[in-house]
């Protein structure tokens, strides 16, 4: 069959030649290619739901933040209790409506010629309307800021340009059951500690994106310091050495839409904290010994109100801890061992915003529960900044890796090399697993990342 012309790149390669479905390999060229990048802006970032922040960043009428959907700057603002996402481009001549990172405005006035807009993007007026400044050819309704479709989920703000496309729930599919355990588990919900960290990495967004779809293996090598001198350094009775493998068993959730969750077994931690076999403890006992990040034992009651018994069972056994949401979100809701034997959680979400084929913006939000007691909150924020994001001792190693992959993808030979996803599960769900979706038990494998690429492929080759 001849490839459809919309899938042909200028050198005659078809997008379908970049992925070998049988072999589970992806051509390295995908990590640095201007043409693919341009197509992704339409076919991925123009089509899927994108995470832009959290409503706690803009609590009051008129509050706004500036964010990015692909390379497009957007204004995320609150107006009469609703959240609006407007393209940050003046319909008059294309100036940015706001150049501020955040603020409060009842009216957004373009500083170039003065056209004014409400926080919901509606065109309000031009300064000399009586002299026909905005003309009569277009109606006023037609001169507003372009609106994205918006949804809130656990207070997280998602938007898409795909106005008639799938709903957010359809987009999440079975994975929603697991994300609910993270984002919708408390009575009052989460809030951001503050605005996100932002920094530039000279790498293709997919180098980070495919890793966020739950690359478990890299933890062993790239983050080996965690076992050598970091939080996962083992005590003498457990045998010395930097091997992190015992910490990495659990189950992994894949999704046909490229979402991924690594549900990591808490058994070892619970055993360490209680000296007891976790199987002999009830779900509630386990949750009280080791409450999820952001919660203390008293807050465990809230879990029972907001989650089903099946979700509670998974929460106390193998809760989702790291993973991603297609195309460019990473979450880390992790249980970090402390020097004194206790555990402090971290709750963090990143987006990897594309800034050209060889550049991404790493945006990092840190969360707490609104009900997290102040002392725990402070510990969480400090720990999370120390381990993740700009100066995070874990993630600084990631940010040094992706640029090299982006460079190797440019070589005349290197571009034909492949990314391989051949570690395949043959296990299925753990016994008694009550959750939906594609779930496999055991040590981490490549299935989740492979599903990420399959969805990338589906979107990139879809009928336009």
């Amino acid at each position: 069959m001849k490839p459809k012309s919309h899938n042909l790149l200028a050198d005659g390669t078809s997008i379908s030649d970049l992925i070998d479905i049988e072999m589970r390999e992806v051509k390295l060229r995908t990590l640095s290619d201007q043409q693919l990048y341009d197509l992704e802006q339409q076919r991925i970032f123009g089509k899927t739901w994108l995470m832009l922040g959290h409503e706690s960043e803009i609590p009051n009428e008129g509050d706004f933040v500036q964010r990015f959907m692909g390379e497009d700057s957007v204004i995320v603002s609150r107006h009469k209790g609703e959240i609006y996402v407007s393209l940050n481009v003046c319909p008059h001549r294309g100036m940015k409506i706001t150049t501020h990172d955040a603020g409060n405005a009842k009216v957004h006035k373009c500083i170039y010629h003065g056209w004014a807009f409400r926080p919901n993007g509606q065109f309000l007026a031009s300064p000399v309307a009586d002299q026909c400044m905005h003309g009569t050819i277009r109606d006023k309704e037609d001169l507003g800021l372009q609106q994205a479709r918006v949804t809130l989920y656990g207070g997280l703000i998602f938007a898409t340009w795909n106005i008639d496309g799938p709903s957010f729930d359809e987009f999440l599919g079975d994975a929603k059951w697991y994300y609910d355990m993270l984002f919708c588990r408390s009575d009052k919900g989460m809030e951001v500690a503050g605005p996100p960290q932002r920094f530039i990495i000279r790498a293709n967004w997919k180098a980070a994106g495919e890793q966020s779809a739950a690359d478990g293996f890299h933890t062993l090598t790239l983050h080996r310091w965690l076992g050598e001198v970091g939080n996962y350094k083992k005590g003498e009775e457990e045998g010395e050495g930097g091997d992190l493998t015992p910490e990495m068993f659990g189950a992994e959730v894949s999704s046909p839409h490229g979402h991924a969750l690594r549900c990591i077994d808490l058994g070892r931690k619970i055993r360490r904290l209680t000296g007891k076999n976790p199987d002999e403890l009830s779900t509630e006992e386990k949750l009280k010994v080791l409450p999820p990040p952001g919660m203390n034992p008293e807050m465990v009651e809230q879990l029972k109100k907001n989650l089903s018994p099946e979700q509670l069972q998974v929460m106390a056994w193998m809760p989702p801890q790291v993973g991603g949401m297609f195309p460019n979100v990473l979450f880390g809701f992790v249980y970090i061992p402390q020097a004194d034997g206790s555990v402090v959680g971290s709750m963090t979400l990143h987006t990897y915003v594309p800034k050209g084929p060889d550049k991404l913006e790493f945006t990092n939000w840190i969360f707490v529960e609104k009900d997290t007691p102040p002392e725990l909150r402070e510990k969480m924020v400090m720990q999370t900044i120390q381990l993740f994001g700009t100066s995070g001792m874990v993630e600084q190693d990631d940010s040094d890796t992706w640029p090299h992959m982006t460079l190797t993808a440019k070589g005349a030979q290197g571009r034909h090399s492949t990314l391989k996803y051949q570690a395949i599960y043959e296990t299925d769900k753990p016994d008694g697993w009550p959750g939906p979706g594609i779930v496999n038990e055991g040590f981490t494998k490549d299935d989740t990342q492979w599903h990420w690429w399959l969805y990338w492929y589906e979107l990139m080759t879809a009928e336009q």
Binding site: T99, H100, D101, A102, G103, E191, V192, A193, G194, P195, P196, Q197, R198, F199, I200, I201, R202, L222, H223, R224, W225, E228, V229, G230, G242, E361, I366, E378, V381, M382, I385, Q386, G389, T390, S391, G392, M393, E395, Q396, D397, S399, D400, T401, P403
Partner: protein, 185 residues
């Protein structure tokens, strides 16, 4: 939502210490040797210059209107938020086997200037403002990452030198142009 420690830094500064005075030169010497230790990866020796009640933080910056200038420095979230224990943890990591973000190490130069020293109400403590320009180069990059910033420090007299007791680093970039802060500022 904000914790705003150290925003009153300039309130703590009382009389300026004269440029070129003996005390001023001692402080300047402290900064020159600090830069030399860090540029030459002598992290453990640098660790010896830190007070055990150290607070070390790098707030975020935001682009805001002039009338909202105070909001351009964000304390609720930071790029770094450390104390003595965690800084020594970073030193230990860098001295270990697998700190890939800085192994191979960046070639870094710390240019310290515009040093202004102030007495405080405590006889053994000084407030110091300094400008720092960091040039950072990795692998065979043909560009330098530049990290210009202002440091607001509290130094405590210790023997014939000082210990760093508080440092807040005010960066000039909102969107940092370097891929991580695996180096000390």
């Amino acid at each position: 939502m904000t914790s705003s420690e150290n925003v009153n830094f300039f309130d703590q500064c009382s009389s300026p210490v004269g440029i070129g005075s003996e005390l001023y030169n001692l402080v300047l010497g402290f900064y020159y040797s600090e830069a030399q230790l860090l540029d030459n990866l002598r992290f453990k020796e640098w660790g010896d210059t830190l007070a055990e009640d150290l607070k070390y933080s790098v707030p975020l910056r935001q682009t805001r209107l002039v009338k909202e200038q105070e909001s351009s420095v964000i304390h609720s979230m930071r790029h770094m938020y450390d104390d003595y224990r965690s800084i020594m943890g970073r030193v230990m990591r860098l001295s270990g086997e697998s700190a890939w973000a800085e192994d191979p190490a960046s070639r870094v130069r710390r240019f310290v200037s515009n040093v202004q020293v102030y007495a405080t109400t405590k006889p053994d403590e000084l407030c110091v403002v300094s400008y720092l320009l960091i040039t950072r180069n990795r692998f065979d990059d043909d560009h330098f990452d530049l990290i210009p910033c202002e440091r607001r420090d509290l130094l405590r007299v210790s023997g014939d030198s000082f210990k760093l007791a508080n440092r807040e680093v005010i960066l000039d970039q909102v969107l940092l142009g370097t891929p991580n802060l695996a180096i000390f500022l």
